[in-house]
Amino acid sequence: MIIFINNEAHEVAESSTIHEAAKLFGAKPPYAILVNDTFLPLSQHNHFVLTQDDRVEVISAIQGG
């Protein structure tokens, strides 16, 4: 199935979890996750199952003022 990670289309296996999708993406910890514009806590990364066209954001620290 196709999902979107940081606005790019990625093909992942059916029933993939967020953890698996982030690993496929090459995400480097520490990072936080948004799924369809909603924050998904770390404790749910191994349990949340993705579905077709889900939009995932992998977020990490940057400079800020």
Partner: protein, 269 residues
């Protein structure tokens, strides 16, 4: 100065007591090395940072995170760039998980021209985040009524602007800031944004503001390390002046040298 660092005289952010009254940003420095050195020179104990989409192919994000961690300072994540309550709340939640802090510098842009905070969305987001246990530091204008709403919700810190972000114009409306200070004497008041010169920071502290938060003024200085030091000294001077109790301003001149028994008294007109 021993009095400056006495327990009673330390900056209070939701019960955390700090010696430095400067909070500093981590953006726009010429290099990570200069960022680290300038922040250290400034004496700041709190550094702000933000969140963005990760690009695993770029190493810069990881290097920045390691660089910030090595400073060993308290982290104040912001919600910069958020235009909606939902975005700001989500960003705060992600920040808490990533940075292991309940502190959040709540920024909600209401207009892109001057990055003026959206006061209505700010109050709504603050209410949600406070209910979730966040310690909210709202970036607000100098509007007294919005400030009162934020305080009534439970904000123990307010961060009114001196002038719009990145302008370096200093305190454009001293009256409004003084009104905030006088109206909420027990709220920690941090002037956030618009500080361009050490004299602006000193002025803020002289007015009784508790601290200043700045970034561009140091990061974009020709010599950021030197400017960090200059701000550190200016803030200490401003705070000392406030504690010392400035003289009352007068309209008419008043001689500082005693004139009684002056040999030239008869020459006065």
């Amino acid at each position: 100065m021993s009095n400056e660092h006495s327990s009673k005289n330390r900056l209070n952010i939701y019960g955390t007591k700090l010696n430095s009254r400067l909070l500093i940003g981590s953006s726009m420095y010429p290099s990570p090395y200069v960022m680290q050195q300038a922040i250290r020179t400034s004496g700041a104990e709190v550094v702000t940072l933000s969140l963005s989409r990760q690009n695993p192919q770029a190493s810069g994000g990881q290097a920045f995170w390691e660089s910030i961690q090595s400073l060993g300072l308290l982290l104040l994540p912001n919600t910069a760039g958020c235009h909606s309550v939902n975005d700001a709340v989500n960003m705060a939640r992600m920040s808490r998980e990533l940075f292991q802090t309940d502190w959040i510098k709540l920024e909600l842009v209401g207009d892109d021209y001057n990055l003026q905070p959206d006061p209505i969305a700010l109050v709504k987001a603050a209410e949600i985040l406070l209910s979730e246990g966040f310690k909210v530091l709202p970036y607000c204008t100098d509007d007294l009524v919005i400030a009162r709403h934020l305080v009534e919700l439970g904000c123990e810190v307010l961060m009114p602007w001196g002038s719009p972000i990145g302008t370096g114009k200093g305190i454009l409306n001293p009256y409004a800031l003084q009104a905030l200070r006088d109206r909420f004497p027990d709220v920690t008041m941090i002037v956030d944004s618009g500080i361009g010169l050490p004299s602006h920071a000193s002025q803020s502290l002289e007015m009784g503001m508790d601290a200043v938060l700045l970034n561009t003024a140091v990061a974009k200085a020709k010599y950021p390390l030197l400017m960090g030091l200059a701000f550190s000294k200016a803030i200490e001077a401003g705070r000392s002046a406030y504690l010392a109790g400035p003289m009352a301003e007068r309209t008419a001149a008043s001689p500082s040298t005693p004139t009684i028994d002056s040999p030239f008294w008869h020459q006065s007109t």
